[in-house]
């Protein structure tokens, strides 16, 4: 595993101000417009891939695969929230890698204490609260990485990226009941893993 990724300053990437126009140009084959979209959403896509795969190199590969798929599918994009569309493609690309990885299993799990600690933003309104939040995110990411892959995938897609049960079931080619069970068991396991850091939730 290579360097840990850095969290972006904001929480989630907002849509581009003139996103509809940029998407229309990209769908017409404008490479500059497509590059602009990918540049804007690469942190969102990479974040999803990293959380599903727990490996920086594989996450980068999955993100690039997703960009290639998106580029090919751009002409057939039929509206809706672009970020969700792109995230679905990224999730599929990541899940493909995950399936290949499960056929040839390796035990690469990130160490929660590995990597440089996130420094609080000194320009933040409340640096203590920012530091606490940063610490919470770091432990949450580590706990997610310790979930079994099927539970992690379900929890990440549903709870982190807001996909509904049916979308997760489609993506993972699993039964709806299986997906629900994975999500609930994954959440309960996360709660156990985060038990030592419970005070961060209230901070």
């Amino acid at each position: 595993m290579t360097d840990d990724p850095q969290r972006t300053s904001g929480n989630r990437t907002p849509p581009l101000p003139d996103e509809a126009a940029v998407i229309a140009r990209a769908a017409d084959g404008d490479r500059a417009a497509f590059t602009q979209l990918m540049e804007h959403y690469q942190s969102a896509c990479y974040g999803l891939a990293w959380r599903l795969l727990s490996d920086a190199d594989q996450a980068a590969d999955a993100t690039q695969d997703a960009f290639v798929h998106a580029y090919k599918a751009m002409a057939s994009y039929r509206g809706g929230i672009f970020r969700s569309w792109l995230l679905r493609i990224t999730a599929n690309a990541s899940y493909d890698i995950l399936r290949r990885q499960q056929r040839r299993p390796t035990t690469v799990l990130p160490d929660p204490d590995e990597g440089a600690p996130e420094l609080p933003d000194i320009h933040a309104v409340n640096p203590v609260a920012e530091a606490t939040k940063s610490e919470l995110y770091r432990h949450l990411e580590a706990a997610l990485a310790h979930l079994p892959p099927d539970q992690r995938t379900a929890v990440v897609l549903c709870d982190v990226y807001g996909m509904d049960y049916n979308e997760v079931a489609d993506m993972t080619q699993s039964a709806l009941g299986t997906v629900k069970s994975r999500i609930h068991r994954g959440r309960l396991r996360l709660r156990e893993l985060m038990a030592e850091h419970r005070e961060l939730f209230t901070g």
């Binding site: 972006t8 690469q42 990479y46 960009f67 609930h184 939730f201």
Partner: protein, 232 residues
């Protein structure tokens, strides 16, 4: 499913995520309202969900190539693009032609393995035009032929001419069958014509087909290697 006192934790998780079926379960919701342990669990799971939903995006640890197809498209439409597109069909055609040539060349030999006679039998048949190779190789016959064959090296095959008679006689002297048979004489003529400097194998088109196929493959590979720009 309930344990001794509390609902199953997965049902409580479903309630925390406000699943319709869990929220509509009156027994479950009334239990949670009355049970501190279950209420805490639902509350914690709710906070956990909120925290997960707040996780920020992650910046890649190395720059990503945003448009991988650009390079491929350029190479496909650039100088070497048409060569790249022609390479596969040319290579396939070459391989197919070479395979046909190879089969054509090897077929008589394979036939020989299967039938016992093979290419030698075929050549032998062509040479003798008759039944017995011993006849053909008899030294007396060869001598007679030396006498009979005119200066230009060809026996014309005229059975009535005087020149043909010593040949028949010589063949008869060699102890072969059918010495007086005019066909034997014709056989001798056939042999002589066969040995006029052209071997049977040289008349076969298959080696040339094989060579053409291999040459096409090599030429296609060479052209691609020379003309198509390589990465790096």
């Amino acid at each position: 499913m309930l344990n001794q006192h509390h609902p199953d934790d997965e049902r409580l998780s479903a309630l925390a995520s406000r699943d319709d079926d869990a929220a509509a379960d009156a027994a479950l919701t009334s239990h949670v309202h009355a049970c501190a342990r279950c209420a805490d669990l639902v509350s914690e799971l709710g906070v956990l969900r909120t925290s997960l939903a707040d996780l920020p995006d992650l910046r890649p640890s190395r720059p990503l190539q945003l448009l991988p197809p650009v390079a491929d498209d350029r190479s496909a439409t650039g100088a070497g693009g048409w060569i790249r597109r022609l390479f596969a069909p040319a290579l396939t055609a070459g391989a197919a032609i070479a395979m046909v040539g190879l089969i054509g060349t090897a077929a008589p030999a394979l036939d020989g393995v299967a039938g016992g006679g093979g290419i030698f039998q075929d050549v032998g048949t062509r040479l003798s035009g008759g039944d017995s190779a011993a006849e053909e190789l008899a030294p007396e016959a060869a001598e007679s032929m030396d006498v009979a064959v005119p200066a230009d090296g060809y026996e014309r095959g005229d059975a009535d001419s005087g020149a043909a008679e010593p040949s028949d006689a010589a063949l008869g002297a060699a102890g072969g069958e059918g010495t007086t048979d005019p066909d034997a004489s014709q056989g001798g003529v056939s042999r002589l014509e066969t040995f006029d400097g052209q071997l049977p194998a040289e008349r076969s088109p298959w080696p040339m087909v094989l060579f053409t196929g291999v040459a096409l493959m090599v030429a296609a590979a060479l052209l691609r290697w020379i003309l198509v720009p390589r990465a790096g």
